[in-house]
Symmetry: D2
Subunit: 378 residues, 4 copies
């Protein structure tokens, strides 16, 4: 068995903003484009709960709806029903603090001399501040505080008139992590940065093509997983099918390990590998590299379960569900004003006392083992 | 190991309304009575999501708030803050259909010659229809269609003037399953029927006493579990402490097995036994009584997990998380209008294809093994 | 011209609860009974904004919906669409403070040995407390704190088995002001107390009959006003038409003058007289009995307008709209925390400075002239 | 008396979009800037109910909140409380159809090489399409479909570095109607176009200065009306007081007559004249120029009242309130499905039958007399 460090080639977080993961989805060529995008975002909800949005093309113009909240709050049934068109892109964004939350919701939609364009971005650019200063010094105005808007400015003033070429020209300026879905009047473009930091997969449904951050979005809509978009590849979905362009040579591969550890759903294939299998394997490696004496292996539900099973299988220590999650934890909660402490955890997780009391526990959270020496609960 | 039939003495469902479980909570003698009741109901939310309500005593009068929906929707922070008093009862009710839903929300609060009384009831009476006809023939009016109101009518016209005695006199008329919490101006009463069909536990918090359907409500508020209320016992919580009365001889014990299998949270003690341990043991028994050849034991999350672990340990077949639950499944969902089928399950559960494909699976749901011969998914 | 004291025979407010006015509506024999009741209550919204509710008969049973808020908040389109039946009653209630607001929302619906009955009541009973004590001493329970519930108890235990006779028997016990609409499985009953304190009118729509507190409810649904229900009269609307019973001899007429002055809409006929004409006439009388020297007559909009016109015509002083009402005053308003005073009035009414400055003003509010000596605004 | 055509010098509607009126408000130098802006917009709610928004300056950066709906829906108490700063601008927008509604909500806030700038605009530019094409051809991107964004692009690339001068340079490019309020980090700018199409007034409150579309906004916050901003004038509010610049020579005056007839509140001063007095005078002129034989002059409430009073006074025909408005008309209404017609008007207005029947009526709506020959109602 290989050490954990060999499982993933490297982990160069572009700017230490680990938290900034998002989900993107796109479809071209399906009469229910808005509905499929809604469903795809629904399946990707775990990648971002702060804001959600989609843009569709009527064939004549782009229409965008976005807002703060969960996918099913922002994109209501009433709204989805009214949205025409055969192509669409969508975005769901992780929770970040700050007043700028709404203006940075995606997709971004602008019009320029090349027509209308909508963009949804998963990742972080490392040189966006410098690019922005440069553009502002030429007289450009910015309506968001995020890093994606610079791509649109460079697209608008690219020398190439064709959209894929103009987009490639714009991407030539930016450095960092980006998986993009782009909507034009008559096509959808998917892009993955040359390092392949963030995932993006291509699928097929009836005659249509779909793009998603994780394959679990394909499962929900009964689409077939075809392949990952390659690092440095641009796929253009239009009425003639899928065209692949290589806009940059693939760079040293630098997939984000946290996709497998934290972000992705275990039923997804990400970077061509089962997330579930990765987590279980990390548990096994942990048990091998840091063997401990304990009575029980207990996961922090739900994300810690696969790694805990791996740890238990490798170590031979029994696996038990020793923490119970409250399924009804809401977002507005009344804090006790006195006499009651320590609610943060209690509300969400409660130990099974009869199981844990007096026993040495290996507690596995995500796939990071927090208490390898057997931190005791209760 | 004993056969499953010996684990629980019997299972005489009073009237086949298995679905009609609720959660009750009560507190006497705490300055944050309303808040603790809110928290207790929150922990019991899994026992009922249709309606929620509480009644508090100011010392002078009872005030009741109830409504359709989840505990945190009905009992808002703003409301809880305004509710005074040192004693309270609460109720959360399982989802049932029908227009009578709201008028049957509990607690019921009435005034009569013995003063005001509030009642919250978990269980079903088998002779309520006959009692109701008899009361109506005497000129009484009924404002609910549920079975709990007959208890209040008999309480109001009981010969005894003391509330505990009058309540005992009323309970002498009714037959069936009932765990009750009752609020009077200056005390709280907890009652469990002579068969002990439904659970009710007594706990302590600072100087106050609390009652709850399951001990997980005590854990959340840091109360100490003292004991179960006994079948046929009435406990009176007032400023002098806890008084125990036996209003009926304990009958042949008839605990509802579904409390352990379905209703209760695994971290609760119910009927003096760990729910988690019961579920795991049921899985073990299953594996013993119905051994099968299979590659993997897979639970339907989350309720099937303990029994699946028991099955796996007993059978030696590896336990795997082969179905992933979508945590963001909401209550309003847009049905696809065409081209997409089979959403009911897909939305909530998605298989880990790489794990399940080509393997023989034992699928464990709740603690009922649905596919013992290895029903294959995918 | 007669003095104001002769315009209305007397004004014996039963218990000084002037504020407790409500609106009632009923219909029998129309396929859109719920919808018409919604519309009728909508037209009567000015008579009560605290709670609203209706009860319909399916022919087999009664179904009731009620809640806190405006008619269109409580009775949503979705709800109204689902309500079957050819007969219905409705109620809208004036804002009163207190925690008992919801439990006193009407219609009240109960079942008893005479079947189901729903009741909506406009008025106040003066002997309800005594009746309630007597009923409680016999073992009855009360679920509301209002005065209407005693009527239902007496109805349930009336010796007569026929509903109209049983209702008459119950009304024989009560003293005070009441205009009632009552719904039974197959009929609607309208009642006005022997003094005729509160209004109740009978109308016709296609083949159906309707009852309403004010005739403006008939206008909205294009029903024809037939006549007032007489003091001491009970009208029974069933499939054979309208039957009139006299359950009590008409007492000394005692119409509530505030119906004309405050409660009713000016476009209604109340007590057989145009509310608008009454208000204008009160303004004329005022000008005659209390002549003043002033430059302008200015109404407090909107209720003061008719009386101000009457005052202006009688006195010859010009009528001007000197106060402007803000149409967008909502119910949630942000109070200024400092530096800004006196918002209560400012928000709703703003003077036309150019008109009022330096002039002597007669300000007419409702039909009570508050500032006859020319109180100056600004 | 002068003919109506002399009352207002001219009425050149820039592009026939009469409907596109909005309300703007601004304040500089007050510790409750956000709250005052909320109140100012509240008083200007009649000028636009589609969307509302405000931007404040913390002194370091601008923060903007906007959304679809009424002022008190978009700008909640909770939000206003959290907004710091001593200067702010706000905007309320008239209802227009279309999917682009939200993206065109104002204020617009952008950052550029001159820092952050927020803009709120009342009016319409006639050359915005041409300016936009020109800017796009240079590589600029547009995020709204409205006409205000071109001002910001020209501001960003103006040669002058000072904000007032850069704004003047940008305004030099645009043609049309505009009253603007602009927020910068440390100042507020108010602008009125050289024709003075739209109103904008300057007021004072404690040491602070305020700008508003109508003086009724000053009344609500107890500010003192100082004067109108002049056509072609720019006023800069900063910590040193008010600075006036003339960025263009005043053009031929072209005030929009519809401000007085439709848009403005009668208690406002607009274009230095009382709106109420204008409406009454229009009624008088009408009576003079088009005398009719009639029994009563009846206004369509509320906007027709002043003109009807003027008509009545001039003609000697009695003024009567013959149509009653329902104050509780909401935005969601259940349409009757059959048997009931003609709701649109009925719901809002009901005639006082006893007054109108058999009489010849002059019906006055806004200040347009629609039925000069005595159209009869009923």
């Amino acid at each position: 068995m290989r050490p954990a460090s060999e499982l993933f080639p490297s982990f160069p977080s572009p700017d230490d903003k680990l938290h900034d993961h998002c989900g993107v989805f796109a479809v071209h060529g399906h009469p229910e484009a808005a509905r499929l995008t809604y469903l795809g975002l629904y399946a990707l909800q775990h990648r971002g709960q702060e804001s959600a949005g989609l843009a569709i093309s009527t064939g004549e113009e782009l229409i965008c709806h976005k807002g703060m909240g969960y996918v099913d709050q922002v994109l209501t049934q009433k709204l989805i029903k009214t949205l025409p068109g055969r192509s669409a892109i969508g975005h769901t964004r992780y929770s970040t603090a700050g007043d700028t939350a709404f203006i940075n919701a995606q997709p971004l939609v602008v019009s320029c001399q090349k027509g209308q364009i909508a963009l949804a971005h998963n990742g972080n650019l490392v040189n966006s501040a410098a690019l922005r200063r440069e553009l502002e010094s030429r007289g450009d105005i910015f309506q968001t505080t995020g890093d994606s808007e610079v791509i649109l400015h460079h697209f608008a003033r690219a020398k190439h008139s064709g959209a894929p070429e103009a987009l490639a020209e714009a991407l030539d300026k930016v450095v960092g992590a980006y998986s993009l879905v782009v909507l034009l009047k008559d096509s959808v473009i998917g892009v993955r940065d040359p390092h392949g930091f963030r995932p993006l997969s291509l699928g097929q449904l009836d005659g249509a093509y779909v793009l998603a951050s994780e394959s679990c979005a394909f499962d929900l809509i009964h689409a077939t997983f075809l392949r990952d978009v390659e690092p440095g590849e641009m796929v253009i979905l239009n009425d003639r099918g899928v065209i692949s362009l290589r806009f940059a040579p693939p760079n040293r591969l630098a997939q984000c390990i946290f996709e497998h550890v934290y972000f992705a759903r275990p039923d997804s294939l990400v970077f061509g590998r089962s997330v579930h299998a990765s987590r279980e394997q990390l548990g096994r490696l942990l048990a091998r590299e840091h063997p401990v004496q304990a009575d029980l292996v207990v996961p922090v539900p739900d994300s810690g379960v696969p790694a805990a099973i791996g740890f238990a299988e490798e170590s031979g220590i029994p696996f038990k569900i020793g923490l119970i999650r409250n399924h009804y934890v809401g977002r507005t909660f009344i804090e006790p004003s006195q006499a009651i402490r320590d609610f943060g955890v209690k509300l969400k997780l409660n130990p099974v006392r009869s199981l844990l009391e007096g026993r040495r526990i290996v507690l596995v959270d995500d796939s990071i083992v927090r208490g390898t020496t057997g931190r005791k609960i209760v």
